[in-house]
Symmetry: C2
Subunit: 268 residues, 2 copies
Amino acid sequence: MKVLLVFAHPEPGSLNGALRDVAVNELEAQGHEVRVTDLYAEGWKSEVDRADFPSLAPDARLVPVAASKKAFETDSLTDDVKAEIEKLLWADVLILQFPLWWFSMPAIMKGWVERVYAYGFAYGVGEHSDTRWGDRYGEGKLAGKRAMLIVTAGGWEEHYSARGVNGPIEDLLFPINHGILYYPGYDVLPPFVAYKVDRLDEAGFETVAGRLRERMRTLQTTAPIPYRRQNGGDYLIPSMQLRPGLADPSASGFALHLGGAEVVRKAS
Amino acid sequence: MKVLLVFAHPEPGSLNGALRDVAVNELEAQGHEVRVTDLYAEGWKSEVDRADFPSLAPDARLVPVAASKKAFETDSLTDDVKAEIEKLLWADVLILQFPLWWFSMPAIMKGWVERVYAYGFAYGVGEHSDTRWGDRYGEGKLAGKRAMLIVTAGGWEEHYSARGVNGPIEDLLFPINHGILYYPGYDVLPPFVAYKVDRLDEAGFETVAGRLRERMRTLQTTAPIPYRRQNGGDYLIPSMQLRPGLADPSASGFALHLGGAEVVRKAS
């Protein structure tokens, strides 16, 4: 398989740098082809602004959605963005690796998403009408590919558990897993998360590295998070609300959008 | 009151620019003193990197948490960050205004949080031990102040409702409202959200502007979101999990961390 790993940490000698090497080495040992986008090392530009749209007239108002649409259609996006789009189309698997900063990805990686996810490529794809709200959430140009997160957190696993004060990690990552990865079509694997990383000794590192190697070995076989497909019949269109009666009555919040929960519950 | 509005949109002539003016004008009409940090106009640097820590030796490994702690303690943060910290200490109310891009704040604003929220200022505050996990989530250096979001979204309100495909807006914004604003002590007001903003005509704009003016008039009286205080007795320490028996048994996810829900439910 072809794997793209997008990496966001400013220090090559960090734990994140070491875990990236663990992941890349294990993937290559399995015979996969790996490319890495190292955002800090490459001096990635984080901000969506006029410079992203060279064909926009100097006196024209910048409307980011419209400018993105036109630039993608006319192949006039900037070269750094075009290169990333080419890599996304090349890769069978996308991995985003980052330290959890303020309960989300670092700014530089958010800027990668905002600039690379052009209109017509990652959104604004497919028919948009009163009966179809585009190809998204399980459909789109990246459908058929897999994606997953590799995340490090300073806090304890308990703090991110179902009743932990930070909120459950799966809910904190939902805007990324569902909103950024599932949206353009990826099958999203459960995230790899390492906790308490600020005080990791050598034995602790080896344990984390071993878990990560195992996840890299099972990239092709791990079951994706069972998000519901937008156009699979579960949602009313155009209100895009989950149909009455679907999901366990006790479910709420992001958990409603897991289709597999019903199946699992019936089977158990 | 003193109000700081941090603004993140690349186009002054955008809807966001117009709404910012509506907010500032209404606040000033009410006699408040307003300062604006316009991140794009000021060329805000989005990435946490070595340049943020001028006192770090060139051959030293960059550990962002440790570097931030040392720079804050020794007053050696960069001038742009120091200026923002001074504004946060000055303001009674913080408003973050941004378009919802990929279900979160734009990269440039995330970078403002990551760089301005220094260790010892916004986190790493208070006693950290097995019996107390710092002053955070309702306590901290910004306690006693209020904060709120002004957000614009292209999608429909239904898409962000309790059963909408994007996930409920209050859950999408939880990592910001709870994890970024409540964390260092702010009382967090319910967000102001404008939907369907890509197709807003003049009448539609006036409706949104009227709602926003009303929110600006009630900044001092609007009830904050009733998040639970970390050190108020609701959480076990150090696992930081909500005590058994607290919260409605049917509640899950982020909603567990709303203390007022029980009160409201008992009263109704």
